[in-house]
């Protein structure tokens, strides 16, 4: 016992735990912060989870273009707890993106970015983008055909940057095609470059929390005045401040633990995303789609008018970054309470609804041909007229069913045709098929006169 105590004393003396660390842990924070302040620390817990599980994954993963796929199969199906490990890392990424988003929203709604915490917000903006970059490069490391095609799509997107686009695309892929050099790059970004930057910035972000103090819960009618704020804040802390550890920190710890346990639960329940086919760029029967947190971006590109798209792809991110970085300078004083800033609350709500709607649309993806549509059955055709039957076969064969819905079968890209026979005359049908228009190809050069007649006959029976 005595020995232990003297070892403890020795360590404390050399490491300065009671001198340096404990005062930090016990620094005073404003009272009443309660539960709305736990999201940032929970995001940090997720980051630590990602670092630890990521590290474990690198022990099993082979970062070469030819072997990554097999090593992932090994991790998922053979390695002891490999499946769970991959799943935790996967859900951990989702958790981190989600919590970073919620944390940011909380900071915006309570205007915690105002004086003197401008740099906290700015470092936070970079942390947000690094988090998304980690998510994106991470899903690429799955290096199945989906991963390969995601790399191509990413290269195409940066390719739209004027002047330097093609070079940046080449840098991203490590060459002018996908190949042995591609995965090494993404692996390095995902396991070394971005995490290095991320951890450094998180340290900075936390240092700023200590330096400027946690923002106090906003009170309506008590605006921030940069001239007096610091003094007022110190005086307030002296009077009513509570030590961070343990008075305020137990909530962070409890919430963090719940988050980690939920991630673990989801991982056990659902497992990691299944790999698709091996990473051959010649495997073209894939439906490249990103993980859910990047689906809104994917959906945005699909729904945007093609004419403005090239511009939006590079101006959009630039404007977003400038807007986010400018925020604490545009409004760094004044009211903080959401009750007095209805427009800020409304704006955040709009962002949530917009991103949520894009996510939903991305999930349903009705803008793509549905290649898995099956030919209409005789029951659905409900006619024995040979021309109508031939027309229904053509309707599948010519790809119409990929985009048009009939009695619940088919794609949703084009208008539903279940009752088209009521809406359009045979003549009108013919014109639409032959000329196309909007998002429909002109089938004039594709179908013969006889085929056209059969198609029109078939569609005419849809009433």
């Amino acid at each position: 016992m005595k020995i232990l105590r003297s070892i403890g004393a020795w360590l404390d003396d050399r490491l300065g735990i009671s001198d340096t660390v404990m005062p930090l842990a016990r620094h005073l924070v404003p009272p009443g912060a309660k539960w709305s302040y736990v999201f940032g620390s929970a995001a940090l817990f997720c980051l630590i989870l990602q670092v630890v599980t990521g590290l474990a994954l690198t022990l099993l993963y082979q970062p070469t273009s030819s072997e990554a796929y097999q090593s992932l199969q090994f991790i998922t199906h053979q390695a002891v707890f490999g499946r769970t490990l991959r799943a935790i890392h996967y859900f951990g990424a989702s958790g981190m993106v989600l919590l970073v988003g919620v944390h940011m929203m909380r900071v915006y709604i309570t205007a915690s970015y105002k004086f003197p915490r401008e740099m906290s917000w700015i470092s936070g903006v970079f942390l947000l983008f690094l988090t998304l970059a980690m998510g994106f490069t991470g899903q690429l490391l799955r290096w199945d055909s989906n991963g390969v095609w995601s790399a191509v799509v990413a290269a195409e997107q940066v390719g739209r940057i004027p002047v330097v686009g093609t070079y940046v695309a080449r840098l991203l892929l490590g060459g002018d095609t996908i190949g042995g050099q591609s995965l090494s790059r993404f692996y390095s970004y995902h396991t070394l470059l971005f995490p290095g930057l991320l951890l450094g910035l998180v340290g900075f972000h936390l240092y700023l929390v200590i330096r400027n103090g946690v923002s106090e819960p906003p009170v309506a009618g008590r605006p921030v005045d940069p001239k007096t704020y610091r003094q007022w804040y110190q005086a307030m802390l002296k009077k009513v401040g509570v030590p961070f550890w343990p008075t305020a920190a137990w909530r962070d710890t409890l919430f963090g633990a719940i988050v980690i346990l939920s991630i673990f639960g989801l991982a056990l329940l659902y497992g990691p995303p299944e790999l698709t086919t091996p990473p051959s760029p010649a495997t073209i029967n894939t439906n490249p789609a990103p993980d859910w947190y990047l689906l809104p971006v994917f959906a945005l590109f699909a729904l945007m008018p093609a004419k403005i798209e090239s511009y939006v792809i590079f101006i959009g991110p630039i404007l977003t970054v400038i807007g986010l970085l400018a925020l604490p300078f545009v409004s760094n004083a004044g009211e903080r309470s959401p009750l007095r800033r209805p427009w800020a609350v409304f704006g955040s709500l709009c962002v949530v609804v917009f991103v949520g709607a894009l996510l939903l649309l991305g999930e349903q993806a009705p803008w793509s041909p549905k290649f898995t549509a099956q030919p209409l059955t005789a029951g659905l055709v409900h006619s024995s007229d040979p021309q109508v039957v031939a027309g229904s076969a053509l309707f599948y064969n010519k790809g119409c069913l990929y985009c048009h819905l009939i009695d619940g079968h088919g794609g949703r890209r084009g208008p539903e045709l279940t009752e088209v026979g009521r809406r359009l005359t045979p003549g009108e049908l013919e014109i639409r098929i032959v000329n196309g228009g909007g998002n429909m190809p002109a089938y004039g050069g594709v179908v013969s006169k006889k085929e056209l007649a059969a198609l029109v006959a078939f569609l005419g029976t849809r009433k």
């Binding site: 390719g159 002018d176 073209i284 090239s310 790809g399």
Partner: protein, 177 residues
Amino acid sequence: MSETDNTAPGPTAEDEPRRDFLVKLSLGLGGVAALAVGVPVVSAVLAPLLQADPQTWRKVGTLADFDIGSTHLVKFENANPVAWSGVSSESAAWLRRDSATAFTAFSVNCAHLGCPVRWEPGAGLFMCPCHGGIYYKDGTVAAGPPPRGLTQYHIRVSGHDVELLTAPIPITDITAS
């Protein structure tokens, strides 16, 4: 600094030029060291821009493999695969035999954001699974967001072999549309 107190530690006036020189020397040498290390590091980062992008004729089949009027997915190896590429060095193209000697080859990369387009033989159209881009048989845009048509590869027949000139992934730049 007093004249008599020359035993005390700390800089003296005579030291100043010397110190000045040493500071400059250390900064200068530090710069040279950073530069020396920086060159190979930056080259590794920029390597993809420094190499030439070679193009190679690759055999994708023989005349007997392709019927006139039909469209096939052909696979070939990209121009400069490294030893550890595995299947990732494969590329593909849509090849159509137009006549006894004439072929057309389209990139499988959609001109929108690069997803792999599929040839639908019944419809006679190329369709993209990502955002609904559709192309006619000749590669021109039929519907959807692609700002330009499908890129074509060079094709030649040498003897009985059908050969294709490999090319970079076509990147659609902002000037398209």
